[in-house]
Symmetry: C2
Subunit: 308 residues, 2 copies
Amino acid sequence: MHVKILGSAAGGGFPQWNCACPNCRLVRSGKFPGKARSQAQVAVSEDGKSWFLLGASPDLRSQIEATPELQPRDGTNNSPLSGVVLASADLDHVLGLLLLRELQPLNVYATGSVTRLLREQNSMFAMLNRAPDQVRWRAMRVEESFQLCTLSGQHTGITCTSIPISNRYPVYASNSDPALSPDEALVGLILTSDSGRKMVYAPAVASITQSLREWLEKADLLLFDGTFYSDDELTTVRGSGELAREMGHIPVGGEDGSLRQLAGLRIPRKLYIHINNTNPMLNETSPEYRAVREAGWELAEDGWQATL
Amino acid sequence: MHVKILGSAAGGGFPQWNCACPNCRLVRSGKFPGKARSQAQVAVSEDGKSWFLLGASPDLRSQIEATPELQPRDGTNNSPLSGVVLASADLDHVLGLLLLRELQPLNVYATGSVTRLLREQNSMFAMLNRAPDQVRWRAMRVEESFQLCTLSGQHTGITCTSIPISNRYPVYASNSDPALSPDEALVGLILTSDSGRKMVYAPAVASITQSLREWLEKADLLLFDGTFYSDDELTTVRGSGELAREMGHIPVGGEDGSLRQLAGLRIPRKLYIHINNTNPMLNETSPEYRAVREAGWELAEDGWQATL
């Protein structure tokens, strides 16, 4: 299974448009000991020809142009993308769908609740179904495995399983909608190749559930929530805001952070992804960066790739 | 008045993600005799400190990062952007608003119908009003002038007038909504500085009305619909699709195109903008490019700027 990281930052990217925190100011000046990052986006493929996106980031246009494998070889409406798998309805995870509106046939896999939020509460998504043979919405049931298929229905060699991670819907979703199931708000995605290799994609993790931990024990590659290093990071940098845990993100560091909680797992390759612009570990001379690297983790970067 | 063109292509940009037409293929290979372009985006400012966006393109994040004047100098949530003026509810003109959601106070000027489409038919726009002091929606009445104001209500030296250009709403808008006024679907924007200098921004023009022509006669700078060169351009390149006029765009060339229709006007500076990836005038060795240049027009480019 080929895995490509097209973007590795949290919503807003790094730098973020209206932020001049020390990280953002330095990276704009070209003097930051670390890398700029576009918003989190991963693509996977078994055969290197038919690709699937995990989420659809707002930076998708430039991410595709930076990735020759995802560009059409000839003709019009002839993309190597077969589909998109959605883990949530967060804006930084779904807005890119609207960039894929140019009459392109695509399979979009999402839970019933996420599909409902997009298609019934946001009329713009009708642009994905202007033509009869455009986006096909496929219902993804949590904890049931399904095959990622080409548009002609052929199995591509990757099986996907989604597991509930958080019952938190985006702020824009009407909380009073009884049709939104708590289990379907935000899922982790487990991708298994026909040869048995496993990748876990969990860019937003409120807490490490027993089910998630069991999957992590079997993973060959883990891309895990690296949004914030500490619980009070946003309030410290901005002077106001929510705690990381209040926003549905377990911090990396600290007594109860993911570094400690996952220390016992022997995963061959593990990366933090969805890194917020305020996160001190972005600075490669920081003690936080060192702590992460010494614990055997990598920081996801735009352009990173691996074959499992 | 300072004018900056941050993006100059039609929806999808150039190259377009799922297109390998001759233009897109060549520009990706680096061998195209012309320039890549991000999606149409213009910014204006009288004092060079407080800026207004005309529309909000999906490429806004990278466009702001390419434009130091639009970046915050210090602190967080401290952008030099004061507001956004919307000419329509087209996706390539409004999606960028959702990228400006990081708790930033902004004035957004739009017609009542466009505001209704965004806020009442698309729940995601609630992200612009999470905090009490975030986006302030200002009603823009067609053919009435209003001052572009800072967040504290101060006049910035630019007056804006909107004139009806087309009664065509985007495909995603419900045509049966009687609250959508035909006059408010798509407007041209006329920006006048206190010293009397005038710019006309009309990136989508279905036909050149008498009212538009009268404004054009007074313009110092014109940014005009350059989407398609010929009426059947899309059907020729793609083998299917709509005619330019059916999509609400007067073509540049031909008997009844904008080149001929506007030939009699003596506008000091006039540029075609919102140029589609299929447009042959993108190729600077083409007869179409030559025809446009010989008629005194320029092609808008990302990064172009002028002071009126």
